[in-house]
Amino acid sequence: MDLELSPEDIEFRDGVREVFTREIPEDIRRRNALSRTTRDDIVASQRILNSHGLAVPHWPVDWGGKRWTPTQSHIYASELQRNSVPQPLAFNVSMVGPIIAEFGSEEQKRQFLPATANLDIWWSQGFSEPEAGSDLASLRTTARREGDVYVLNGQKTWTTLGQYGDWMFVLARTDPDAPRKQQGLSFLLLDMTTPGIERRPITLIDGSEEVNEFFFDNVRVPVENLVGEENKGWSYAKFLLGNERNGIAQVGTSRRVFADLAEAAAGIPTENGTLADDPQFRTSMHGARTTLLALEATQLRVTGASENGQASPVSSLLKMEGTKALQELSKLRMRAAGDDGMLLPPDGDAAESLHSDEAATIAAAQYLNQRKLSIFGGSNEIQRGVIAKTILGL
């Protein structure tokens, strides 16, 4: 065993850290730490990363990928999170990019991959539907083949940041008569300027407007925008699940939240000292700290494990426990703020005018927003089912 980074890995870390902290503007990283990242922040950040070859390291080498060691991949994900760099847009770099690179035609690769890596195209995910959240196989959106187009009808929901989407990758039913409902789905690429698309924004309870519904009314998709084979969409979608193992536990993010909170605590007065002296706060923080150590060690253990394109049950563990840890920290942040988390500015820009501790101001809203972590991207209940089935054989 060895708990030290090798000199080569330290050099690698220092290299990516240099890009993250010196090339990505500080105001972008500050807004990201406060969950106030804008569309332009994400685009600017990803283009800088891409210009340094750091936007799509897990892609095939031909399309901008690197052949990093598992340790390097871990360092990259961890340093991104620790330094509050906006993650390269997951829809682009972790989802549609790898799918097109694996299953797309050469023409699709040329058309989409460079623009996807550079966020010249902003992709949205068109998987979930109102009646098919956790149960993707029940999708109802149809794509009826008519000559050289598919005609798309139906509805997609929970489309995160869909308001910025140039294109959407859509899972739609091309064969309504398939014997199993997993069959008969196809993976289509949809230009969002096509007529017949309507967007309805969904406000979340914290006030954020990051998810959307989309309605498709006879939307015409050229057949050349089918990825891979017709009716094989389910297997392409499954390829994504568990594909992303690095960073899924968000230990780097939690570490940053922890460090910020520890620092803030020393400045939060209590009746007899500061919060940093409060035994209950310290007990909770110690619990969070040891959980994060265990999570990072787990991440290190599986980082090296081979990836085979199957849903990894260890991803389920990391996703479930990692997001729980981050949620717990957001609750601790809210409790630390107390009343101070109970006055949100009418709009984001006024935050600083209210009082100095901006992180406190948004603590409660942040806590509410982060309830999504255990729901979206495969709820904890789904993860427990995966663990039971694939690991425990239950």
């Binding site: 149960d135 406000t203 309870i205 914290d206 400045g267 109970m342 009418p346 309830r371």
Partner: protein, 385 residues
């Protein structure tokens, strides 16, 4: 010994439940909090007509002088519908402060309008970065002509934007006092925002703002302030109980009706057992809130009990439950429970905000754990040693 409503109290609950229920169909909290007022004015007027704005104000000042159980019944019914009208913040709490500290003249001046429902008063105590239980940093200064002015910042001040008057805690040298400030007075800068539960709150800055001490000069208001706040901390738990009960109810309905994988969610035992655990927690929290309410009633009857300590104990227990119930309800609803349009999301947000009200849960637990009573063997009956 009993922890039940009497017939009148039952009737009161049912009356408020019915009246508020009419104004709050599903999803109405979002609508109510987005009006200019920040609540539903029709419901407010109904509450006033029913005399509920005078519930805690004595007969001499236009109210009915009811006790803590009536406050409980009213607020539980309000909570059941996630109603946004500021009965507790805008009427009950200021009325307790005025009754405890104010001169006869002040009571006459301030209480009748409150009792009528014609106005609300905002209590400004919280300050950014200052522990709730410490002395205020807002300071009172005497000018040459004998009048008093305040300087400093309060935040958050709930419903300050609609209040006609503010009751502001401040220090005069070493003496803590509560000061009456007209909302329209000079030297006030108000920045309006909202709480995590979408109700209104503001930061209020005072710069040489004219003010009048509530009550007689020279008496320290700390104990009276603590007692009134403790009373409010118990009262808000009734709202939490109402909210938790309907949050659980919504969740159970959702499990029955929502289908996944072709069957109702209620088919999934893991979810059902979690609903059962929610039920058990809600019932224990209800018992705790009722017990604290009965204790306040006993104190009003002369029992010698440490009210702030009781309030801390009950607040910690119910606050923990409120948080857990809010989290489980959202989780069991899935994505839909996260959305502004979902009734359960507003319930969850309000439950979250209640746990951080009046200085918040962490501070309450800190006090409660440090208190001598933390290691005292529990007995719910006051005279059962």
């Amino acid at each position: 010994m009993n922890l039940e409503f009497n017939e009148d109290q039952k009737l009161l609950f049912e009356t408020v439940d019915a009246a508020v229920g009419r104004g709050y169909p599903a999803g109405a909290r979002g609508e109510a909090t987005s009006t200019e007022r920040g609540w539903n004015d029709d419901v407010w007027n109904t509450l006033a007509e029913l005399g509920l704005t005078g519930l805690t104000i004595d007969g001499d000042h236009g109210g009915v002088g009811a006790g803590p159980v009536e406050v409980y019944a009213t607020l539980e019914a309000m909570g059941k519908h996630a109603a946004a009208e500021p009965l507790l913040d805008g009427v009950f709490l200021p009325s307790w402060l005025i009754a405890a500290l104010g001169t006869g003249e002040q009571a006459k001046q301030l209480l009748p309008a409150l009792a009528e429902g014609a106005t609300t008063i905002a209590v400004a105590h919280a300050e950014p970065g200052r522990p709730w239980g410490s002395a205020p940093s807002v300071a009172a200064a005497h000018s040459g002509d004998g009048s008093v002015v305040l300087s400093g910042v309060k935040s958050p001040v709930r419903h300050a934007d609609q209040a006609s008057t503010l009751l502001v805690t401040a220090v005069d040298g070493d003496t803590a006092g509560v000061y009456v400030v007209e909302a329209a007075a000079a030297g006030i800068t108000r920045t309006d925002g909202r709480s995590a539960d979408w109700s209104r709150a503001s930061q209020v800055e005072f710069a040489g703002t004219p003010a009048t001490l509530l009550g007689a000069t020279g008496t320290d208001a700390t104990a009276a302030l603590q007692a009134a706040v403790a009373r409010a901390r118990v009262a808000v738990l009734a709202e939490a109980v109402g909210l938790m009960e309907s949050t659980l109810g919504h969740t159970v309905e959702y499990l029955k009706n929502r289908k996944q994988f072709g069957v109702p969610l209620a088919t999934f035992q893991a979810l059902v057992h979690r609903a059962s655990d929610m039920y058990a927690r809600v019932e224990l929290a209800r018992s705790m809130a009722l017990w604290a309410t009965a204790t306040v009633e006993a104190i009003d009857g002369g029992a010698d009990v440490d009210l702030p300590a009781i309030a801390d104990d009950a607040f910690v227990f119910v606050g923990d439950t409120a948080t857990a119930v809010a989290e489980e309800a959202v989780q069991l609803h899935g994505g839909i429970g996260m959305t502004y349009e979902a009734e359960v999301a507003h319930h969850a947000a309000r439950l979250t905000a209640i746990a951080e009200s009046f200085g918040g849960l962490a501070a309450a637990r800190r006090r409660a754990v440090a208190a001598e009573s933390a290691l005292r063997a529990p007995s719910a009956l006051l005279n059962n040693a």
